[in-house]
Symmetry: C2
Subunit: 418 residues, 2 copies
């Protein structure tokens, strides 16, 4: 009995120890190196399989390369807990890995308690980051049915290797990746813990937050075309200054974001001819706009377009817009949000709900129709995708506890819905 | 007598015909190709020497590679008329060439009228453009004593050839280039005609203008350093947006310029990391400020610095400034400006005085202490340093006439001052 008690108790400090093990195995002085479809990623997955071997679970890999550990329960209805062990190059030790390693601990605790009321599966999604080929959420979008093989078939890495060839080397046939959708057949809920990757929880002094959903994104390339002219011989009132219009728009999109409670970012500005002695004749900028609500996102886009036209007229320049990418906002399940609130409150005493700016595998699962929610744990200094990425050990332990509580309550919830 | 009358009359239309000859000889479909220290430039100079061979002048080349045509007068006191036959690559047909070819016509007219009261010299300055090695005003600064050989010794062209070696191939020994200063010994006045290279005269409907001097220039590299952060996860009020500060400064320098009557230009903006999904962590921009009066230029610089610090504080970013280059304003001779006014009025009926934004060889001559003035002729659409550079034939003819009138009056002025 003493042994069984030890086995069934959640040990959040073990998650931290295991994350450090993984870091030593798959990181270097520049950070995490678990880029998907590389040897280091294979090593990380093999390490995870070794951990899972001690549990009464079946480990499989699906047609999209996602790795599943299945703990059979009294019902076929399934609770999914997800994450991704892949990282960006020179990445952080927690982004993605915390999710699956915390999920491992929760799976261990549930397995130690005997046959659960529902089946529980831990999934390590393949290529969440898209670091090598530029297409993120590969495995989860394949499972969710939103991956179009033709849209990624010609992607190549820096060495010119084609995505289908590299996938094949890892046992994944691109045109069959969608068959991973079968894995979601009995899924009744999906949970994902992730570091926040932003500064909100830290600025509020909170360890944990409940994620309302992922922002919709409108991403555009904007070009202002004026007239390059000599910086010395062209009076101010005779200029057609493309940068003047770009600067005005760069400031205005911040007001638009504040007005609507979303975020707008000019991340790249390129000036041509781009020399010290010439008025800017052409200015390209990128605009990334995000909001949790589709109507607000549409309004932010419309206002930015109107502003750009007004500034173009002010400056006697032309403006053109080209859409780079868009995705609708994805709202998580309201009942699971309530359960997550309760789990966070029981763990840390306070609750806070916030949207997720970055996309996550959870968004793909959610839009496939499976009730989904995420937990965020505080990121120090809001840093991610960098070796400086970190979270306090106290907060990581609380995150594992909250995920465990949420898993337990979600199993009950699934049972009640049956 | 009929013959002599033909010889002595000024023929401005001949200047246009000769410029077209030169264009056919040294240009291609991309524009003028008379880059200094190249075979095409040698061809242009040889063409000019052929023209000069018909005149009673002595042609010499000085230690800096400047080519002189000397018409001996009754006095050793000398009127200089200058220009440059070199061009930028893919340049315009008039920038520099109009000056010397119009000067040729004026020299012809003066020579045809018999021995002038003062010596008259036409100078074709070497490497005004600095197109191959990046150092403009080579020949005129050597003559003016402001060229430091050590500052240019290590300059190389695109093929890695060193300036001293290329100069040597053209008979110029870098360390002796300053000996060209002897050429200015008896100079009593310097005149230069140039296309405006800007839009002012065209916008006012004027063919000609009198140049008050060349702008002083303050040229700086400015860096705003904030914090790169995820465009999705970083709320607007938590950002340290380097581009926000840069955009504010880009707009403010235009107000500063208007307040002082100078020009300020942000010509280059570089954002880092410069990707669509990240708040700009670092933004480099160039600032070029010009004014005809040193105190106003200093005020424009001080105000831009103060503004940059204010904006850095607003945005919670750092700012640093690095001077790239500066030159003081150079004011032309007030008496010669009056003579030039009279010549322009006699030719076109109207006068207008304006500063020169671009630098010219005249600035170097002026700061060596020789009374100097320039005439500008209207540029179509303000374009220069491009094959589209042009001026109407009517205006070019008026420019030759005005230069001739100014040369005549300046010879009188020199005589009176002796």
């Amino acid at each position: 009995m003493a042994n069984e008690a030890t086995t069934t108790a959640l040990q959040p400090q073990r998650t931290i120890a295991e994350l450090k093990e993984l870091r030593a195995l798959t990181g270097d002085t520049n950070g995490a190196q678990r880029v998907c479809w590389t040897d280091t990623w294979i090593r990380a997955r093999s390490w995870m399989r070794d951990k899972l071997a001690a549990l009464p679970v079946e480990v499989t890999v699906d047609e999209a390369g996602n790795q599943w550990a299945t703990l059979r329960g009294a019902s076929e209805r399934t609770l999914l807990i997800g994450g991704h062990i892949d990282s960006v190059p020179n990445g952080g030790w927690l982004d993605g890995a915390l999710n699956v390693v915390a999920g491992l601990e929760v799976l261990r605790r549930i397995a130690g308690a005997g046959t659960p009321p529902v089946t529980v599966r831990l999934v390590d999604w393949a290529d969440e980051e898209g670091a090598r080929f530029g297409r993120s959420l590969f495995g989860s979008s394949a499972a969710a049915g939103t991956l179009n093989p033709d849209a990624v078939r010609t992607l190549t890495d820096r060495d010119g290797l084609a995505l289908p060839q590299v996938l094949a080397e890892h046992g994944v046939e691109l045109d069959r990746a969608g068959e991973a959708g079968a894995q979601l057949r009995n899924a009744a809920a999906y949970l994902e813990l992730h570091i926040e990757q932003g500064p909100v929880l830290e600025s509020m002094g909170l360890p944990l937050g409940v994620v309302l959903g992922t922002y919709g994104v409108e991403r555009h390339a904007i070009r202002f075309t004026g007239q390059s002219a000599h910086a010395g011989s062209t009076p101010m009132d005779r200029r057609r200054d493309a940068f003047g219009a770009a600067a005005k728009l760069g400031l205005e999109i911040r007001e638009i974001a504040k007005r609507h409670g979303g975020v707008c970012t000019v991340g790249s500005v390129v000036t041509k001819p781009g020399i010290v002695t010439a008025v800017v004749g052409e200015c390209d900028l990128t605009l990334d706009q995000r909001h949790l609500h589709a109507d607000a996102l549409a309004a932010m886009l419309a206002e930015a377009k109107q502003a750009s036209e007004r500034f173009a007229q002010d400056e006697n320049v032309e403006v053109s817009w080209q859409r780079i990418w868009q995705i609708e906002p994805i709202l998580f399940n309201p009942e699971l949000i309530e359960l997550a609130d309760a789990a966070v409150r029981a763990t840390s005493g306070t609750i806070h709900r916030l949207p997720s700016g970055p996309l996550h595998d959870a968004a793909e699962v959610s839009r496939s129709g499976i009730p989904t929610v995420m937990l965020f744990v505080q990121s120090l200094r809001g840093l991610s995708h960098a070796k400086e990425e970190d979270t306090t050990e106290e907060h990581m332990q609380m995150a594992v506890q909250a995920l465990d509580r949420l898993a337990t309550e979600t199993m009950h919830w699934i049972t009640q819905r049956q």
